[in-house]
């Protein structure tokens, strides 16, 4: 079994490699290259998904896939899969499967315009690098894959490099991620300095208390940046929109989750949780990210930026789960710990599904209407009904609305917060309660935001010519999204399919199975620790809803007779005719919230009139903007200071005068002589 499994994983990896090579070889034949490379990815990801499921269900303990030790010290490529890796691999494989199907259609609009062979090469190796991140058995290999992942995704971000905006996004991304990686490296090195080993599956017993805390902070900064935790999130809303949509889906769907994986792998598995404050820090960061992420998302009218901010939000929700898990484990409360971990992992999985899907949806919109600005869209539901349906599903899922999967994981998060409130620890409880409030606010704001996204772009009248001319996208793109949408619904209705797998991870990491707490077959029933019974059943709800709809249809038919409808224009307030400009715009939609949360956005507006009199203007121009507080008050001043410092010192030291230069040498010699005098 193990051998078979190993070969299965290896086959998947080799297939990806093969895909990478093939796409380079077929660079000249773009169409063939696109189809073949994507088919290879589909096959590889199917193998990967199957292997992951088999691994979790039927094989215990980590299995080594391959190991290669280079002659260079410490460089050894070691691939090992345990349940934690497998669950992330599963998410990755599923997403890659759907995205690759989608790409067959999506990439076709690049044919003849761009180097598709190169794109597919980067795409495949990017996937491969993520697989290596998730399966590396030592910190050096992890680091190598991590950097490779950043590098490859950077190239994908700047793939459409003519636009200055994309270049800037890429630059910001690579700088942020590299700086963060430096913190990771320091963390790994401190680990090494105490344990003399980079083995991730080894013991961390030799690390003293203080060092553990430092490592925690370092890793949190390092992984937090990749995950897009506020205030380290600023690269995310720039980088995700810049990449082609299928890549954004991967980046948002799985790449930022590798940071979550890293946190779990290094903190939970390797170091072990001993301090409550670790969990508290993560929880607080989670709360901040969730609320601020969604708040900023609401202000965005660029679909992909909007979705990117939602990634920040969802990472926040995952971190809330993770934080609770850490707090509970620090207090040896394994049941709550397991529950919270399950919640976090499930939300990670779910987010992969729906956020991947949403980015694909955004890609479809861009494909059809050639714009990312929702203010220019409208009425797409009639032009592209299938896409609209799927986007609606994803929107409901991300807003944590039953019966989709987002709700299940948020429910579990709520439950773990609920269970984490224990009398006698007032401070922690207050944070948990704040987390509850934050989750509530986040959920409602997310719903508002996705009503905006869906309502403004798909409903109503087209706001521009581009939207008017939009056509339904190729069928492959819809298949890719369709699978994801179906999965969202399936996981929402039958959460046990995936919870069974996640439970194995929880057993591995926490040591206690919470499946017993969650029993109930297709219903998810969770008994809290002491009294009472909390349970939900989305499936039952769905049945009830359908039944009720049928009954009400019947009753109405009996009372009201046959349904007769008359088509007529919408009430246009007595003007000549309804036009697209009379609709609410996205800006208008989110304005009340903008005003309420003024302090976050610091909105500015500018109105300019043209014409003789204020009340009879010829044209009115109204612009409104908001400032991103973190960029404006944290990053820009910092960058400015550093730049100035560099500029000044540069000309102060390298003055161009040879006398100065000689003086440096002179002073250096004298100083060293003086040093020697006193040593």
């Amino acid at each position: 079994m193990e051998l078979f499994l190993r070969n299965l994983f290896l086959a998947s990896v080799l297939l990806y490699l093969f895909g990478a090579v093939i796409s380079l070889i077929l660079m000249k034949r773009q169409k063939a290259c696109n189809i073949i490379a994507n088919f290879i990815c589909i096959a590889a990801s199917a193998l990967g998904a199957a292997a992951s499921v088999i691994k979790i269900l039927w094989v215990n303990g980590p299995i080594g896939i391959f190991g290669f030790k280079s002659a260079i010290p410490f460089v050894s490529l070691d691939m090992k899969v345990d349940n934690l890796s497998a669950i992330f691999l599963l998410a990755l494989s599923i997403l890659v499967l759907c995205v690759s199907i989608y790409s067959i259609g999506y990439i076709s609009h690049y044919i003849g315009k761009r180097n598709i062979g190169l794109f597919n090469f980067l795409y495949t190796t990017f996937i491969l690098s993520m697989i290596f991140v998730l399966t590396s058995a030592n910190a050096v290999f992890f680091y190598i894959s991590w950097e490779a992942m950043s590098l490859l995704s950077y190239f994908l971000v700047v793939f459409e490099s003519e636009k200055e905006k994309n270049q800037r996004a890429g630059r910001l991304y690579i700088i942020m991620t590299h700086l963060a990686t430096a913190f990771l490296l320091i963390g790994f090195m401190i680990i090494y300095s105490y344990t003399k080993s980079f083995d991730l599956f080894g013991s961390s017993a030799g690390i003293p208390e203080a060092a553990r805390n430092i490592i925690f902070i370092l890793l949190l900064i390092g992984f937090g940046t990749k995950a897009g935790v506020i205030p380290l999130h600023i690269w995310l809303p720039y980088a995700h929109p810049a990449a082609p949509s299928n890549v954004s889906a991967l980046m948002s769907g799985i790449m930022i989750k590798t940071a979550i994986y890293g946190l779990i792998r290094f903190l939970l598995c390797y170091l072990g949780i001993e301090h409550t404050w670790w969990g508290v820090v993560i929880l607080v960061l989670g709360i901040a990210s969730a609320v601020l992420g969604v708040a900023y998302a609401l202000m965005e009218h660029n679909i992909k930026r909007l979705l990117a901010f939602h990634s920040v939000e969802n990472i926040g929700i995952i971190l809330i789960g993770l934080g609770v898990c850490f707090i509970a484990l620090a207090q040896n409360n394994e049941l709550v710990g397991g529950l919270a971990l399950t919640a976090a992992l499930l939300h990670t999985f779910n987010h992969t599904l729906f956020k991947g899907g949403l980015f694909l949806g955004a890609g479809s919109i861009q494909y059809a209407a050639h714009t990312k600005d929702i203010e220019k869209l409208g009425g797409l539901i009639k032009k592209m009904p299938v896409t609209a349906l799927f986007v609606l599903c994803f929107s409901l899922a991300i807003s944590a609305i039953v019966p989709f999967n987002g709700f299940i994981s948020e429910w579990l998060t709520y439950q773990s917060l609920f269970a984490n409130i224990i009398p006698g620890q007032a401070g922690l409880n207050l944070i948990s309660i704040l987390a509850v409030a934050a989750l509530g606010l986040t959920g409602a704001l997310a719903a508002a935001c996705f009503v905006k996204l869906f309502g403004i772009s798909f409903l109503g009248l087209p706001r521009s010519n581009q939207a008017l001319k939009a056509k339904e996208v190729p069928v492959t793109m819809n298949i890719g999204m369709g699978i994801l949408a179906a999965l969202c619904l399936i996981v929402g209705l039958f959460p046990f399919t995936i919870l069974r797998l996640i439970d194995q991870v929880a057993i591995d990491l926490v040591g206690s199975s919470i499946l017993g707490q969650l029993h109930g077959g297709f219903l998810i029933v969770y008994y809290p620790l002491k009294v009472s019974a909390n349970s939900i059943s989305p499936l039952a709800l769905l049945i009830v809803l359908i039944a009720l709809i049928l009954i009400s249809l019947l009753v109405i038919r009996i009372i009201g007779g046959k349904y007769i409808e008359r088509k007529y224009g919408t009430w246009d307030c007595g003007f000549e005719a309804l036009n697209a400009r009379m609709q609410y715009s996205a800006t208008g939609f989110s304005k009340p919230i903008k005003i309420v949360f003024k302090i976050l956005f610091r909105p500015t507006r500018k109105t300019t009139f043209e014409g003789d009199w204020l009340y009879h203007p010829e044209t009115i121009e109204y612009t409104t903007s908001f400032t991103s507080v973190f960029e404006e008050y944290l990053y820009y001043p910092m960058i400015r200071t550093i730049k100035q410092f560099s500029q000044r010192t540069k000309f102060r030291i390298q003055t161009g005068s040879i006398h100065n230069y000689l003086l440096y040498i002179f002073i250096m010699v004298l100083a060293l002589m003086l040093y020697n005098r006193f040593v």
Partner: protein
């Protein structure tokens, strides 16, 4: 079998009683304004009439517009199913808790807001946008106040909570419950589009929220929307009265009789709360839109104070 009975009774009571609450409130308002007012049962007649009328549907709209009334209506009922009108009715747990309740209502609201945008009109967007703001602001206080009562009874399931509070004496004498009661009262006012948050009786673009969203509806669609709103209102009222004014512990016996008695008491409580709401509505004026956050903040602070009280007073001793 039991669950079928539960569902039936629950649905019947809620469906029958929901328009009545509207009627009572309107009647009281009329009386205080020295008007005779419409009959208490006016809404039943309205709905019956509306159901028989043809629907006018906007040319611009899509299937979302037509599906929404059914979803709003059924989600309201489904939500109501999670809030037992009488604890005498349930012998087993129901698969759903207050978190799910919030989520189900969110489903309805999502479609309602989307449908408002679907007609491409000016008013729809306006209502939708305002609803988005109000519902987001009110959400934390719903959850925190329900969490508070949930924590006291160690469950998130509403029947469990109701059962638990029955054993705590008179909850409304307790500071925690007082805070929660007030917080939820504000929530109800906001959720059911009542003054001072919204004015259900006008169609003035400066004020309307809910009415703006359903402006384009007519015929059976309008009936379903109105009915759904009424059911949602009753659901919230039930939540409040059954948790914070528990009465079933007064009935010492079981059986059909007990159930009937408890239902009667329940209806009385509903009427009482309707009166309170009506009085509040009469005695306040509509806030301007951007004062609503203050109200929401007040509600949240009350809920938060409630939970603080819970911690200060020492958790499970309540």
């Amino acid at each position: 079998m039991n669950s079928m009975i539960y569902i039936l009774v629950q649905i019947l009571v809620i469906i029958m009683a929901a328009p009545l609450v509207n009627g009572i409130i309107k009647k009281i308002k009329a009386l205080t304004q020295k008007r005779k007012g419409a009959p208490v049962f006016q809404m039943y007649f309205d709905i019956y009439k509306l159901l028989q009328k043809n629907s006018v549907v906007s040319e611009v709209s899509s299937w979302i517009f037509k599906v929404t009334p059914y979803i709003v209506f059924t989600t309201a009922i489904a939500a109501a199913l999670l809030v037992p009108v009488s604890t005498k009715l349930i012998t087993q747990q129901i698969p759903g808790d207050f978190i799910m309740l919030v989520s189900i209502l969110a489903l309805g609201r999502f479609f309602m807001m989307a449908a408002a945008l679907d007609t491409a009109g000016t008013f729809g967007g306006m209502g939708s946008s305002r609803e988005a703001m109000i519902s987001s602001l009110i959400e934390p206080s719903i959850l925190v106040s329900l969490f508070t009562v949930g924590l006291i009874s160690q469950s998130t399931s509403l029947p469990q909570i109701m059962n638990a509070v029955q054993n705590t004496g008179v909850p409304l004498l307790h500071p925690v419950y007082i805070m929660v009661f007030l917080a939820l009262l504000i929530v109800i006012i906001a959720e059911t589009s009542r003054i001072p948050v919204d004015d259900p009786s006008t169609h003035l673009e400066l004020t309307m929220v809910h009415e703006a969203m359903i402006l384009e509806y007519s015929g059976r669609h309008l009936a379903l929307m109105e009915y759904g709103a009424a059911i949602k209102q009753l659901t919230f009222i039930t939540l409040l009265v059954n948790i914070l004014i528990p009465s079933d512990q007064l009935i010492g016996f079981t059986g059909i009789g007990a159930l009937a008695l408890s239902l009667v008491i329940y209806l009385l409580k509903v009427v009482l709360l309707s009166v309170i709401i009506a009085i509040i509505e009469v005695n306040t004026v509509k806030f301007r839109l951007f004062s609503i956050p203050n109200l929401a903040a007040l509600s949240f602070i009350l809920a938060f104070l409630g939970i603080l009280q819970y911690f200060i007073l020492g958790g499970s001793h309540v």
